[in-house]
């Protein structure tokens, strides 16, 4: 069940009310991030920063280990008797690889957490839903058991939805 609202405030308020009334499996769709939208849905803390930290530390550790092994142990080059374990010279690449792997973790981590790429989703069945990325503010509520689509439609209408529609399809 999807419903369109005309302003972002109406959508956020409606989301909060619906959640308080015990509806689950909800999601909002908007052309830009909504102020207070994730709080209204009660989303848990994003795991993206954790992934970034793990990626960054992996990069730094990998760069340190590889450079030490390659230039000190496996193929030591004696340049004018300078120490072969000259770790300060490895800092630039440690930094760069740390940034690189952190960036990869953020990018692929956030795609994974958002379950993208996802070429098909039931909401795309609705032609009117095309406004979700341009100027519409949508709320989706899964109809299940006693929470029939008629009841959801009534609730959404009462909360100010300008348009409601049923879309059918498999989740994921």
């Amino acid at each position: 069940m999807i419903g369109e609202f005309s302003t972002p405030h109406a959508l956020v308020d409606a989301t909060r009310t619906m959640r308080e009334r015990g509806f689950t499996h909800m999601d909002t769709y908007s052309p830009y991030p909504l102020h207070g939208g994730s709080e209204a849905l009660g989303l848990p803390r994003s795991k993206v920063p954790l992934l970034a930290l793990i990626g960054g530390l992996t990069g730094v550790a990998t760069a340190f280990t590889f450079q030490t092994w390659m230039n000190t142990i496996d193929y030591p080059l004696n340049v004018g008797g300078r120490p072969t374990f000259s770790w300060p010279m490895w800092v630039p690449i440690m930094f760069e690889l740390g940034v690189l792997l952190a960036a990869f973790s953020i990018f692929f981590g956030l795609l994974g957490l958002s379950r993208l790429p996802q070429p098909y989703h039931p909401v795309f069945e609705s032609e009117a839903f095309r406004s979700a990325s341009t100027h519409g503010y949508w709320l989706s509520v899964e109809a299940k058991g006693e929470q029939s689509s008629e009841r959801i439609s009534q609730e959404l209408g009462a909360l100010g939805a300008t348009h409601t529609e049923v879309v059918k399809g498999e989740r994921e």
Partner: protein, 476 residues
């Protein structure tokens, strides 16, 4: 809080001289106007520019083929001037890229609202500038097909790269810089590609944009992770701005050559990089905002802010020049004094003074508010800064090399037609890639502009509320 009226007037706040968005636009209008460059077929001027760029790319291809077949001997390089146009172009292009990252990442972290209309153009510029930059060291290898020797891979010779060399650092810095810039650009693009998909009229366009946006549907979960990730990537890109040109400057600073061996190089190069990049942003932005009909989102406020930044970074560069020459004199080193004397009075002195004119004197125009808002002056000044930054690198790299410590090894330098072909050809290729890209992807971030419009509305509603309560108090 009161709901904002749909057509609120821009409040006359004393600190806000120029509006960030001209007029008030609904979400649907913004979608339409910002997708205009993508929706419309290119006009005659567009195709004329594409043809011009293609001609330049032809010259470029000939130069590349000659370089690969003949070798570096086709260039004007000699001994001792072993580094010339190849490295000058590399440093120039990579420096240009830095302003894009500054605008997209540092200004995002500093919550500068004006970045959001111009960050896509600046990031696109960064991507292609880094691509152009990366080509030159590869060509300079003479045998570009062995470029992978720089990467650590288990070879049958059982050797490994020397990680104490600035050249391996360079390779790591540039590949990381390009990758992170690309991810940042693409991540910011996802919601806009979804807008382009949903606003597309032909099914074929819809299919391609649908594929490119990876099925983005603007879900709260998408936005939630996207926001966190975007901010974190900006945080990562920020030290990259400083580090990449620092590592490039190490190529010079850690050598023994007079004119190169200097500790001021890292900050000097970073400031110069941002300076040249801002100039390139202005060079591209001023025609683009008019042709692509973006004057309502890229306003005089943006031009004004960019000019101020140009003045600030230009002043840092001017200080670095002064400092360099002072330290050369103060060091009392014969070689240092001699090379800086050569810069000022030697055979390449006109190029040095051209650098001073373009990079030190021209930005001083922007102390004047009137000149900051005169688009012709700004555009010409930006072009001059581009020229000035290229000639600065010519003086640092090629002129320093003509005078080494050993006078018997001194030599002159003159570029060949292949050198000029690579320089002008890389500019043409850059222009071509930029032109194609602004026709394919939305050149202004649509979602961010809508968010900005919402914030402007709320600020205005707040102002009105404050004024209403104040007015009520005064009447009593």
């Amino acid at each position: 809080m009161a709901r904002p009226a749909p057509s609120a007037p821009i409040p006359g706040e004393p600190l806000v001289e120029l509006p960030l968005l001209e007029g008030r636009h609904t979400d649907a209008e913004l979608t339409h106007s910002l997708l205009y460059p993508v929706d419309r077929r290119g006009g005659r001027a567009f195709w004329a520019l594409v043809l011009l760029a293609l001609a330049g790319v032809g010259y470029f291809l000939v130069s590349v083929v000659v370089t690969v077949l003949v070798g570096i001997g086709a260039w004007g390089n000699n001994i001792p001037v072993a580094w010339a146009f190849g490295i000058i172009n590399f440093v120039w292009w990579i420096g240009i890229g830095h302003a894009g990252t500054l605008i997209s990442a540092i200004l995002l972290l500093l919550q500068q609202k004006w970045r959001s209309s111009i960050n896509r153009i600046a990031e696109t510029m960064t991507l292609f500038a880094v691509m152009m930059a990366a080509m030159f060291p590869l060509l300079h290898l003479g045998r570009p097909w062995f470029f992978y020797w720089l990467a650590p891979y288990p070879s049958t010779t059982r050797t490994w790269p020397q990680f104490r060399s600035a050249l391996t650092w360079d390779m790591a810095a540039i590949t990381t810089y390009f990758t992170v810039s690309f991810l940042f650009w693409y991540l910011g693009l996802l919601p806009d590609l979804a807008s382009a998909r949903d606003a597309a009229r032909s099914p074929r366009k819809r299919w391609w944009y649908g594929l490119a946006c990876l099925g983005w549907r603007g879900s709260a979960r998408h936005w939630y992770h996207w926001r966190v990730g975007y901010l974190l990537l900006a945080g990562l890109a920020t030290p990259l701005v400083v580090s990449v040109h620092t590592l490039v400057s190490f190529d010079f600073a850690i050598s023994q050559l007079p004119g190169w061996h200097s500790t001021i190089f890292p900050p000097y190069f970073v400031a110069g990089a941002i300076f040249s990049g801002l100039a390139m942003v202005l060079t591209l932005l001023l025609p683009a905002r008019r042709v692509l009909r973006l004057t309502h989102v890229v306003t005089m406020a943006h031009v004004d802010a960019l000019c101020r930044l140009l003045l600030v970074t230009g002043s840092i560069v001017a200080y670095a020049y002064l400092h360099e020459h002072f330290i050369a004199w103060y060091s009392a080193s014969t070689f240092e004094r001699s090379i800086y004397h050569t810069f000022r009075t030697g055979p390449f002195a006109p190029i040095f003074w051209l650098t001073v004119f373009c990079n030190v004197l021209v930005p001083q125009l922007f102390w004047s508010r009137r000149l900051r808002r005169n688009l012709v002056v700004v555009w010409v000044a930006a072009l001059l800064v581009n020229v000035g930054m290229w000639s600065e690198r010519f003086v640092i790299i090629a002129v320093s090399l003509t005078r080494t410590q050993l006078p018997s090894a001194w030599a002159g330098y003159s570029p060949t037609w292949v050198d000029w072909g690579l320089l002008s050809g890389s500019i043409s290729l850059f222009l071509l890639l930029f032109l194609v890209t602004v026709k394919v992807v939305p050149p202004v971030p649509i979602s961010e502009t809508k968010e900005l419009q919402r914030q402007v509305d709320e600020a205005e509603a707040f102002l009105r509320e404050v004024e209403a309560t104040r007015g009520g108090g005064g009447a009593r």
